[in-house]
């Protein structure tokens, strides 16, 4: 079931969220395989807690041909479910910044990986919790197009592939193309009758594989979290607390809490009592409070005024051989091999390193985060935003400063890249990448056509001239929380060349000192010493004389 190296990454015509819909079927690099064993039935504990056995419902006791047919059956009883989902980001792919009003979300932003979903919906929407979003004409009000199963399937047979605009596999198909591997359609009746609460595998089927490869996007989310040990994640540890994603990302009316778009960077106060609505339940503090260390470690509690829990407790991210992608250079895309044909290359760990369709990548494992002041507010580059090509373009700008009481020092993943922009209009371009048509970059290897088609779909002017600009994306790291024994030690920051050596606006003993005072102080001590030595020396000399 696991696809090996042959699962050529080039075949993964992926936009940011474009992946196979069950985690273990995704094109994970070979090393990842050992970390993630397939599981067929997820979390029976949650399933058995249900008061309803869906296999006994007559509404579900019939063959289903398509996803929307299943949804119609679900909605017979769950009358409000689709309406609820339609209010979530999982459906709209849009998020409005409550402070600035900026419309973000996958529908609007340009990211640093597959860049934009616009004009690539058929592929990208393999990760949309819906059916049929193939272009801008998608009707967001049709309830039967909500995909219940992708989050609630417990059989791990339900798969959505790129190219189907969010529909699951209905007919046996070779995937990736020419790989010799085939994906069978799921028995939708069986899937519908076995639904349960979302498990790590459900969430992970998209969130582990964003940017088209296992672990590529987040670095703190990959398939190793399906069956993690304590070392990888102290909360998800399968033999220990065994948290599901939704244990922290507590969900109400299908609204999943704890979005990166609106983060609580500095949750305050003690642990929440049940029902407290005032802060994100996904924050560490909602369970631990902001003084989580025992009294004999009171000094650590004082650090919560400036430092996010994650800074010490996630000492490294991508703590496995799967690793994460640190850069994506689109400017190398369309380069052909010596034979003039497109080619792919992997790095020594079996991870994608080059693909003529997509460019060049750099990966790493056990990555030390870069640290930033962060107040939870990020400003994103949305489609059409002007850029200054003379500088590295910040795909998102992390808000926060040392003087801001809502800012903390956070660990971040900084993903660097190069992507095309319109050299006359100074906008990042939207390019049509996925698809089998003449303008698709991954089909025709022609940037001009791909950008032309993408910009047209995005209703943006395109001058016809493009070049590549350096870009940077900065994401807070918050998963893969290590056991306390593995948390950072004091001296890893409290030293001259420590982790936080570039963080300004905070005085850190051992890192900082006033040079003038130090010189004056040691001079005072030295002069005193010299003074008493001379005084004593003369006393000894004169007493000998007298003696």
């Amino acid at each position: 079931m696991l696809s090996g190296r042959k699962t050529s990454l080039s075949a993964l015509a992926s936009c940011a969220m474009l992946v196979a819909m069950t985690a273990f079927s995704a094109p994970a690099p070979s090393l990842a395989m050992s970390a993630a064993t397939p599981q067929t039935v997820t979390d029976t504990r949650q399933k058995s807690a249900s008061t309803a056995d869906h296999s006994k419902f007559k509404e579900l006791d019939k063959p289903f041909r398509t996803g929307p047919e299943v949804t119609e059956a679900c909605l017979i009883c769950h009358t409000e479910a689709a309406k609820q989902v339609q209010h979530t980001k999982h459906w709209t792919w849009e998020s409005v910044d409550p402070k600035t009003g900026q419309k973000r979300g996958k529908k609007n932003i340009i990211n640093n990986y597959c860049t934009s979903t616009v004009s690539n919906e058929k592929d990208c929407m393999a990760c949309h919790a819906g059916y049929g979003w193939k272009d801008s004409s998608f009707d967001f009000t049709i309830e039967k197009n909500v995909d219940c199963l992708v989050c609630h399937d417990t059989t791990a047979t339900y798969r959505k592939l790129p190219g189907d605009a969010g529909h699951p596999v209905y007919e046996r198909r070779e995937f990736p193309p020419k790989s010799g591997k085939f994906v069978d359609p799921a028995d939708l009746k069986k899937v519908a009758q076995s639904i349960g609460k979302p498990s790590r595998s459900n969430c992970g089927s998209c969130h582990f594989f964003g940017a088209g490869a296992n672990g590529a996007k987040h670095g703190d989310l990959d398939s190793s979290l399906q069956h993690p040990g304590k070392y990888l994640d102290v909360h998800m540890d399968e033999k220990g607390l065994n948290f599901a994603c939704t244990t922290c990302h507590a969900t109400s009316s299908h609204q999943v809490s704890g979005s990166r778009y609106n983060m609580a960077a500095a949750a305050k106060g003690p642990a929440h009592i049940r029902g407290n609505p005032d802060s994100s339940p996904a924050a560490c503090q909602s369970c631990h409070g902001n003084k989580p260390h025992p009294q004999q470690m009171a000094k650590l509690n004082q650090h919560t005024a400036k430092i996010a829990c994650q800074t010490c407790h996630i000492p490294e991210y991508a703590r496995n051989d799967i690793g994460t992608e640190l850069s994506w250079d689109w400017s190398k895309a369309t380069r052909m091999g010596e034979d003039g044909k497109p080619f792919v290359r992997k790095d020594s760990a079996g991870r994608r390193a080059f693909d003529s369709k997509k460019g060049a990548w750099v990966w790493d494992s056990y990555v030390i985060p870069e640290y930033r002041w962060f107040n939870g507010v990020s400003t994103y580059k949305v489609i059409g935003d002007k850029i200054d090509p003379s500088k590295t373009v910040q795909i998102n700008e992390v808000g926060g400063s040392p003087d801001d009481p809502d800012s903390r020092i956070w660990p971040t993943k900084v993903h660097r890249g190069k992507q095309p922009y319109d050299t006359v209009n100074n906008t990042l371009t939207v390019q049509h990448t996925g698809g089998e048509d003449d303008t698709a970059l991954w089909h025709n290897y022609d940037w001009q056509k791909a950008i032309g088609a993408g910009m047209k779909a995005a209703n943006l002017p395109y001058s016809g001239k493009f070049d590549f600009v350096s870009t940077e994306l900065t994401w807070p790291i918050t998963h893969m929380v290590a056991p306390k024994e593995d948390a950072l030690s004091c001296a890893q920051c409290h030293s001259k060349d420590g982790r936080l050596k570039d963080i300004r606006g905070v005085y850190m003993p051992s890192r900082d000192a006033n040079n003038l005072l130090d010189r004056a102080g040691w001079a005072l001590a030295l002069l005193t010493l010299i003074g008493v030595l001379i005084h004593g020396g003369i006393r000894i000399l004169t007493s000998k004389k007298e003696g």
């Binding site: 000094k299 509690n301 004082q302 919560t304 005024a305 009481p405 030690s489 004091c490 001296a491 409290h494 030293s495 001259k496 905070v506 005085y507 003993p509 051992s510 890192r511 900082d512 000192a513 006033n514 005072l517 130090d518 004056a520 102080g521 040691w522 005072l524 001590a525 005193t528 010493l529 003074g531 008493v532 005084h535 004593g536 003369i538 006393r539 004169t542 007493s543 007298e546």
Partner: protein, 200 residues
Amino acid sequence: MTTNKIYVFKRFERFWHWSQAMLIIFMLITGFEVHGSYPLFGFAKAVDLHTLSAWTLIGLWVFAIFWHFTTGEWKQYIPTTEKMIAMIRFYSVGIFKGAPHPFRPTTLKKHNPLQRLAYLGVLLLIGPLLWLSGWFYLFYADWQAWGVDNVLSLEWVALFHTAGAFMMLAFLIAHVYLTTTGHTPTSHIRAMLTGWEEVD
């Protein structure tokens, strides 16, 4: 020259002196490590030991302050100009010629005028500088609750604390040396150990 002995330092006073001396030396060692001057215990251990010593010293001071006020011994630190010039002359000239010590300690006046001044400086300047800044350092997280977070910065608190530490270090060096300037080189130290001071 006959040698007399007088009882200068009472038992609690001697206990206070030596435990305070050890704590201060230990806090200088750990403190300068926290400051980043050298590695010794490791940062985390140094912070723990420094904090533990600080609390111990605070506890000791509570007793010492009580003792000083109940016994009236605090009067020993009232500055005086009496014999001040004589003392300066002794340290700068007389001591090299074997001149007699101009100050003769008694139970009521155990410190010479320069000692009084120096110890008063430690008590009123270096001490408060260290423990005030140290207190704010220790309770950094409570600044907001105390309403001082806009007035203080950790950088300045650390600066004053470090400045106090350097002054204390200089005092310590001079103080240790000056213990050898008694009737014999060890008579002051012996007095602080036994309570009995040899005098001329």
